[in-house]
Symmetry: C2
Subunit: 227 residues, 2 copies
Amino acid sequence: MISDTRVLPINRGLASEIVTRLTTAILSGQLGPGERLREEELADALGVSRGPLREAFTQLERQGLVVLHRNRGAYVARLSCEDVDEVYSLRLALEPLAMQRAMQFVTTDQLAELQVIVDRMATYGTGMTEQEAAQDDLMFHDVIYQASKHQRLYECWTNLRPQIHIMLLTRNVANPDFRYYAPRGHTELLDVLKSKDEAHAIAVVQEHLRIAYDRVLSSYPSQKTRD
Amino acid sequence: MISDTRVLPINRGLASEIVTRLTTAILSGQLGPGERLREEELADALGVSRGPLREAFTQLERQGLVVLHRNRGAYVARLSCEDVDEVYSLRLALEPLAMQRAMQFVTTDQLAELQVIVDRMATYGTGMTEQEAAQDDLMFHDVIYQASKHQRLYECWTNLRPQIHIMLLTRNVANPDFRYYAPRGHTELLDVLKSKDEAHAIAVVQEHLRIAYDRVLSSYPSQKTRD
DNA sequence: AACATTACAACTGTTAACAATACACACCAA
DNA sequence: TTGGTGTGTATTGTTAACAGTTGTAATGTT
């Protein structure tokens, strides 16, 4: 029976397909911050019409990867210091709730999934792409949000995730030492998730995020506002 | 000079206009829970084409007022007990952050605006529509979210607000006594907002929301899942 | 009963043409 | 110079008709 989370990302609809394509392009740097995205040109390049592309644009705007100017076009977002602050302060409000509920609803399968990720993190230091490390980090937290069984909360996380992805990549460039923190930090999170001490779990989550926030912010030389 | 928040709701784009129309229709009960919304039919009725209507549908889905079934159509959402739980647990995570930041950034204009609302609440008991009471309640909290100077947080609130609106209306039917709580509760919120005691303010917000949650939930006879 | 087939209804995607918008730039007046 | 006014142009916003796809349910077969 196929019911694994790994097979889910099969896109429904053309717009979603475009979203993942553009997301990949932005995260990989093929589309740089501030770059203009012209509807007609992009539609031609992707081999789709403007309708689905416009729908993709609005999704990407919700996820903070693209900024839309009415009648002026779409631009790849440029994350400012304030954006980092917003993303992390919001995450700091959301993730304790996720953890609290995940402690209630998490399945053994999900715990195993988390363990796999943590184990892989423990092997960091050997050949490890920043992209892979960032994806592991995001996937760990994604599983927790999934485990929280809270649709609306998961949606919030979905909108934040691509922006956090960018920040993780930015951070890793400036802080190669995260490889040593990642396994320890996430092991601790997994431990408290398995515990029954809700208050302690929330405290650990907050501490974890505050550390991440400090690291990211320290490597952000206060850029200008978005395009 | 016209730069008042009251004149802002001038919609940009046709889709937004459709959203407010449909929102009004749903909140007023003209479109009942579970009712089907056929694209072509509705587009004709509204005098618009399918493009903007589809865009409006996706916005309404984000706001939890409409549920979309791929290739099967759109339906007015039917809020279940679990939905109430999700909305209020999420709000309980968001609003303390809003309050905390609002304490930092709130302007005297915004404080005055809040005072006006609270004063109007104090006159409840005389002729007062449920719709008006609900709007005052929402507007009070809206100002706080605005004052928090946090785009992403405000977006979350924007998506939650219509659902809370529905719940307020549902609640008010079953709990006419809220007219006595509303002025007191919101006066207290305004007081702590003006204070410098962050921890106390957060506690008051949480207490306020828990009371609201209890009242709403008590009048929800556990319906089935959404359409 | 279990499964493949079919028909249908509705949504999804495409296209091309037209309308509306916002910025830029030149122009003019003070 | 400064500030307002008008016009132009590129680009998005909107429409409408058509073609393609999907999921459902009825139908038929084993």
